[in-house]
Structure formats: structure tokens, C-alpha cells
Point group: C2
């Protein structure tokens, strides 16, 4: 048996068409495009190239992109002033603060200033709280609508659009980062999965993974999850982005896993392309809500 | 074999002595006591008697207690005005908003107004977010200090003061409420446990529970968790408060569980008394931070 390949690239193209149509409709009604502002302090090379990719993606679909770069020696006050200014700028609907920031900047304090309504990267503690507190699907939520980090949102979208059942299933998330592992666990819980969160201190990790109907890997270790860690027929969502001998690979040993799993995302071409379109979707969502007010 | 009884009442008395000493020291330095303001809208009977108990407890240890009752027909604006006023009142260090509030009040909007620094019940989405985002113990946190709901905090304190190992162990939390189940799961995760969260839609719940080294029950169903759901030697923390034939019992079938578990909290006399002292501890913590500023 060979697993069904969950083709994130194809899915992302499909979603991008929806984004383009929605963006056009927005521009026609409002006279301006949904727009993201990316804020960077310093010149971290990965951040520089990520910003460049976002610019290319956003311009391709007709959305607005602004880049604000402060020098590495910018003060905490300058960063906060910029965010405060973007918070009230009606021409900006989404704000992304690139990390890592220089050590002299208190990143948590900056995230706290960010307007939750424009937090398209889902890093504001208010949005994190709203997601953590979110009622299960189908129940009245009790919390206001909120924005969720794009990467786990993309993983969830793959599961949903591939018709993989989440409700009642046992999902195991390996990795507890605040941008992937934890929000993915919260999303799965909200969708009625039983969720286990594993990490570097977990005892008997292979055995815990083997319990998973849905296994999500977000650890950042190349091919750590082996074929015999996977329950036959399980759905595997690999968020890993690692490089071995110059070649990109995930956290899951794909060649082994594909023989055991029921469905699996490849790396590259799985969760990565989904992150990009989900970020666009977040900006659209934020823009729609802001013009409504 | 019979489980060790985790005596929450005795532990709470021990902690209350610490609270009394700390409160006295605070009064001497500051000239006023650490003070809680309890806000109620309407006359929900359980809320009325809970407020009365808090008053008794706080006055016994020398802490301040204010009660603010608005009529059931109070408007959203009146409730928010009261909270806003308490937020800036220097004589109040902790605020508890009693729920349920009347249906005409948007509880989520009220919680959002509450100052996170005075949120001694841990209901502000900012504090929920900070807990959900909290770094594992021993790592630099990256988030500001925050307040956590008293009930799960009490459950954690029982585990810690009883010398039960959390790190690396598999903890299963049954129930996903925002005041007990979820924050308990986050606390356990922060203390390096592998955590599984179960709920009403979980398939094979008994089998999932049997994986637990630490089993936490917070469902609100009398004696639902049976002896054969428990791994021999496991620690069982029962947050349930149910009444059967006028007698209080937990979510765990104590008589069965005590023969299998390694350690177990009784109901009454387990997690309940701990909630009361942890609320006092939260007010003290908030008071100390506010006078420092």
C-alpha cells in the first residue's frame, strides 16, 4: 500500500484562485486592495528572503504589500511607535512583525501592542488566547472572531479539503512551538479531535506517535519520524522544513512513511505552499472586517 | 494496594499559613491589605454563595474583600464602566467577575476589558494567551508574567507538593473547559508532561485514560471514570464537583480508583480547598506586582 499524497501545491493553487477573485471583488467595492505591512528590524537573511517572497505572492494576486525596515539599532520605542502607527493606518489591513528581532527589542512587548484585528500572523497574545479558549465547532463560541497563524491553518485546510475525518480521532502533534505545534493542537481540538502534544521530553515518543490517526510533525529535525512510528493508514502532516546535503526534507522520513501512512504531505510541496495562501486569506479576512466597521 | 490520599484540605491549610504571613508583611509595608473586588450581575444563587465563601476566606486571612452587585437589568455599558473603574482603583488588586452573567451581557467583551494585571481568576484572553504561549519551565519565557485560573493551579500545586513527577510523564486531561481542563493541560505541558486532552467526542476514552501516568478529571459527571480506566500506580486529580443523593462526589469513582491508583485526590477535600487558597495567592501576586510599579 502506498499513501495518498496530499498535494499542498495543487491545493494552494486552487485556494489562490479564490483569493484572486475575492481580492478583485474587494478592490472593486472599496477602491483599494487588501494590504499587508511587513515590519522588520535589522537584516536577518531568512527574514529578508521571506519578505521578498511575500511581496511577490501578494503582488501576483493583486493585494497590497508595504515593507517597513528599521535599522538593527532601532529602539524599542521606535518599533512600538511604528506598530502603533500601522495599527491606526486605514490603508493597512494586516501587519506581520518578522522575527527574530534584535536582542535589544522585547518581542513580547511589541506583539502586545499589535492590534489583534490586524495580527495576520496570529502572534498577538489576545489572538493566541482566543484560539486557546475557542469553543468546539458547532457550539456558540463566546469569543470574538480571531486570526490564527497561517502555517497550522494551512495544515488544517489540507485535512479538511482532503476529506480526512478529524472529529473523534486521535491526533498527535510532535512539537510545541507557539507558531505551529500549539496552534495546530488547538485547531484540531476545536475540530473535535482528541489531541496529544509531544515534545523533546516525551517518554516513548515512537509509541505515542503510533497512537495517532492524524500525526502532525513540527519539530525541525530532518526525517526524525520513522515509518514504524506511524499507525498504518494514518494521515501525516509534515510541517518540517530542513535541509540535508542542500536538499529540503521534512521531519518525517517520507520514503518510509509513504509505505505505511494512509495519506501524507510531501516536503517540499505540502504544508509550505499552503502557508503562503493562508497568509493571504488572513489579510483578506482582516480587510473585510475592517471595512465593515 | 491502596492509593496514597492527596489531602487537599491539609495542603490548603499549610498554604494558608504562607498566605497569612505574606498578607501581614504586605499590610505592614503598604499600610493596606491585598484586596479582591468581586463583581456580580444579578443574583445567581451559586454565585451568591460562592461570593459569601470568598468573603469569609479573605477576611479570615486578613485580606480585603469588596463586593459589587449590579442588578440583573444592568446594561453592558454599566458593567464595563464598573470594570474600567476597578481597573484603575489603586485600592483593588484583584478583580473576579462572577459568571454566569445575564444573557443580555456579552461576557467575552467584559472579560476583554478586565485589566490582565488584576485578572486573578485568569479569564482575560490575554492571560489565557500568555498561558497557552508559555515557554516550558527552565527556558526563558518570552512572555510577561501572567495570572492562571485558581482551580488548575491548585491541581498542579497538589502534584508538586506531593512530589509526583510531571516531566516526561504522560498526562491525560478529561474535559476541555476554559476554566479547568484547558489551563490544566497548558500547565502540565509547561511542566514538561506529554499531554492528551480528551472530551465528549473522544473515541475509546477508557483506553486513552489508561495511558495516563497523571489523570486529571474535569468533566462534571459523577463517578464517570471507573477503576479499570486507570493505569496501576497513576496519580489521579479529580476536579469534579457533583452531587448524588445530596452527597458530594467527583468525576472519578473513588472507591474503585483508590484500589488501582498510586495517589488520588478525594472529593470533597481534594482540589476544592486548594482553589480557595490559590485564589488568595493570585491576589497576593497581583498586589505585589501592582505596588512595585
Amino acid at each position: 500500500m502506498t499513501a495518498k499524497i496530499l498535494d499542498g501545491r495543487a491545493l494552494a493553487k486552487e485556494i489562490e484562485k479564490e483569493v484572486i477573485a475575492d481580492t478583485e471583488a474587494f478592490r472593486e467595492t472599496q477602491g483599494f486592495p487588501p494590504t499587508i505591512a511587513v515590519v522588520r528590524v535589522g537584516e536577518d537573511p531568512a527574514s529578508v528572503s521571506y519578505a521578498r517572497m511575500i511581496k511577490r505572492n501578494f503582488e501576483r494576486v493583486g493585494m497590497g504589500f508595504n515593507l517597513h525596515v528599521l535599522p538593527e539599532w532601532a529602539s524599542q520605542e521606535e518599533v512600538i511607535d511604528l506598530i502603533t502607527w500601522l495599527n491606526v493606518d486605514d490603508a493597512v489591513h494586516g501587519i506581520m512583525i518578522q522575527e527574530p528581532m534584535p536582542r535589544s527589542i522585547d518581542a513580547a512587548a511589541v506583539r502586545l501592542v499589535l492590534s489583534p484585528e490586524k495580527d495576520v500572523d496570529g502572534v498577538s497574545p489576545i489572538n493566541a488566547g482566543r484560539l486557546a479558549l475557542a469553543a468546539p465547532m458547532g457550539r456558540p463560541s463566546g469569543v470574538q472572531d480571531y486570526l490564527v497563524p497561517a502555517t497550522p491553518l494551512g495544515g488544517l485546510e489540507i485535512l479538511k479539503r482532503s476529506g480526512i475525518q478529524i472529529e473523534g480521532k486521535h491526533a498527535v502533534v510532535v512539537g510545541r512551538s507557539n507558531i505551529v505545534g500549539k496552534p495546530m493542537a488547538f485547531l484540531l481540538m476545536q475540530h473535535q479531535a482528541t489531541v496529544t502534544i509531544c515534545h523533546s521530553r516525551t517518554e516513548n515518543l515512537p509509541a505515542v506517535c503510533r497512537e495517532a490517526d492524524i500525526l502532525c510533525a513540527a519539530v525541525g529535525r530532518a526525517r526524525m519520524i520513522k515509518g514504524d512510528w506511524i499507525k498504518p493508514g494514518a494521515a501525516v502532516i509534515d510541517f518540517g522544513v530542513n535541509f540535508v546535503d542542500g536538499k529540503m526534507c521534512g521531519d518525517v522520513d517520507f520514503d518510509e512513511a509513504v509505505k505505511v501512512a494512509g495519506a501524507i504531505t510531501p516536503v517540499p510541496g505540502g504544508t509550505g505552499p499552503m502557508t503562503n495562501v493562508m497568509l493571504m486569506k488572513n489579510v483578506l479576512k482582516a480587510a473585510h472586517r475592517q471595512v465593515k466597521q
